[in-house]
Amino acid sequence: MQLVLSWPVRLLVVGILVLSLFVDGSGYVYRIANHYKLTGPVPGLPPNFGGWQLYFHKGLDLSGGTHIDYQLTNFPNGQNRADVQQRTIAVINKRVNALGVSEPEIRGAGANNDRITVDLAGVNADQAQKTIGAVSKLVYTKWVKDDKVQGGPQQGYKPALTGLTGDDISSATATIDSNGTSWVVNVQFTSTGGSKFDALTRDAVAACPGAGNDCPQRHLTIWLDLTQKDIDNWEDSSYVAKLGTRYDPGCLAAQTPDTVCGKFLTDPTTVEEIAGGQAQISGAFTQQSATDLATGINSGSLPVDLVALDVTQVSATLGAESVKLSIAAGLLGLAIVVVFMMVYYRLPGVLASLALIFYAGAVLAVFKLVPVTLTLAGITGFILSVGMAVDANVLIFERFKEEVRAGRTITAAVDAAVRRAWPAIRDSNTSTIITCVILAFIGPAVVQGFAKTLAIGVVVSLISSIIVTHNLLAIVLAGSSFRRAGLLGVDRVRTL
């Protein structure tokens, strides 16, 4: 106790709080002076504290957007799972950047590095899933004779993987072909990819040489995401009938192990050997589908399969509504508490209200500094911490009245009240903080946001009630004109 109330500590804590308010406040002044908008991130605004712009980071339930939890499956054998997870995150990042989302949040999760959580503000679930799960793994196949094959692009033949895939492509661009009539995708192979492609085209032409000749072996077919498992099923005609239809990005992005989606892209005849590592993919593209394919190829392929475990989409209007409601609820709560304290505890109540407003400002500044992502549950935690902040004050004031009734002088009563209320305040808040820490680590995601804001609120409220309220009381009551029974809410006051 002595430690907490010693003057250097008081000055230090008050100093930190004032500084945090000053930094936050000066941020607003800077924004107003330079005609920036007052809330949210501003592109081009120089960072105004420790390299950070200060603003409230709103969770998706307040800003509107989509949240998806993905399960990663089919990890490649013999690779470090954490690395695979990081690579997957990098690919998702590239894909999402094409959407132009501000501050996308893509985090790894799961005890086994087998989860990825994606938060995208202002994007609907459909668009998000199509972009993230977009299949971009180009697969080149050649054809081998198999008499049992009934359907597919080449009757009596089944495809064989050539080892040439989208991973061998260094860049892809969507463009209009030389005739200026249809959309195509130009690809540039890497050096190994280029030589693989050169060899494949040479073999294809050699299968039935001569200009104008055509045979199935002369076709190098391009698929999206074709696997060996698909090829093994090639003799099942109904399977091939579905698989051999034009690729369906929506189906592929949302596929489950049991769905069969179209994966066929194009089946061109190889006219001549192509060296130099450049090729063109044509095949009834629209501008959109050509661009999507190019973007997909450029961002690389996912090393694993993604299965969406849960999807949450909140519209921006609902988010804005929630923001309004929580601000209203917070202000209402604060107003009720302030009025009640002033009526019931008179002068100490007024001082506690001052401390409370100070407290609210400090907590909000901490939220911006950390930064804490505010969600509905988080705001509830904050509003509740207001209740707990009041509690510490109530404990002190009730004790203060008792001490005055017991015949102490005002000054002695203030000190005794704070000192005697301290064990209860300390123990009760410790229990809350312990609960919060446990929740922040093992609770479900919603609960974690709540636990963080509540913990910050409780810590600041401890400082606010013990140090700020106490010092305000001590300073104000040093003036004898305030030492009146009526002002203090007690029956009589002992005068020295």
Partner: protein, 336 residues
Amino acid sequence: MSERSDVDAAEQSADIVADGAPEAKVAPAPVAEPKTRRLNITGRRNLFFALSLIIIVPGIVSMATKHFALGIDFAGGTELTVAFANHPSLAQVQGAVDAEGVNGSVISTGGDGYIIRYPPLTASQVTGIEADLKNRLGPTNVQQILVVGGTIAGETIALSALAVVVASVAILMLLAIRFRNVPGGWRAGFQFGGSALAALLHDVFILTGIFSIMGALLHWRIGEIDAFFVTAVLTVVGFSVHDTIVVFDRIRENLRVSQRLSFEQVVNLSIMQTAARSIITSFTVVLVLAGILIAGGSTLQGLALALLIGIVSGTYSSIFNAAPLLVVWRRLQPLR
């Protein structure tokens, strides 16, 4: 930091007064005039225990037989929150949803708002349903879409239960440590911790029981439990312990300075001295919550109601259950 107050004991005992209605054989001489209104709470403890049981027992029966009405994040599935511009009736919306043949059910949220629930669907299915609703019922405003798979739902339940259990144990340990220096040592510490834990479980059971009755028995939508409900339970755990610690702290202090009073009298006195604070604090929080319940949107109303029930219960249990329980425990296991 020392537990000892540096105000000396003799001086402090001046404000400790004997219980007004002692049933004890050796009645201490009443000191001074009564300063706090005196009720004999520890004496009537059986009445208060019974009152708690009246609510808890039906709640437990309901939980055991009917379980809970689960919200989407616990049950899994797909939930669309939609507002229609053309003001269709509930029957019209239900008709349109039935025609989709995906096994959907419709709940009205008042006004033009509806919540439509399906089994878990894929993204393309959801897009299809959105388009279909638009076709059948006119312009829609889809406010929220939730798709929760079984894995996540199971994990949320497991994590929530684990969080409650771990938090309870941690609180028991904290109290045992904090109260081990009252006369009686560690064993007394566990008596304090255990009584607080009992009061905490009391509040958890009251809250979950009432929600089971409202949700599973009466089929009110506000009685559905979801992750927000877990948040509420945990907050109530925090508040309940908060209240209980304040009473126990006073008992700890009074035990040190008053040698003349019996344990039961000390407890009763401590309850009386702290009741005003407990009720005032809870009252302010209740006011805030009532505000959210009335003004808040449907997302926050369930949370506010749960907190309201839990905090009232928490205040009741710390005054009327935790401390009297301590007296019962002390009788069964005397420590002095």
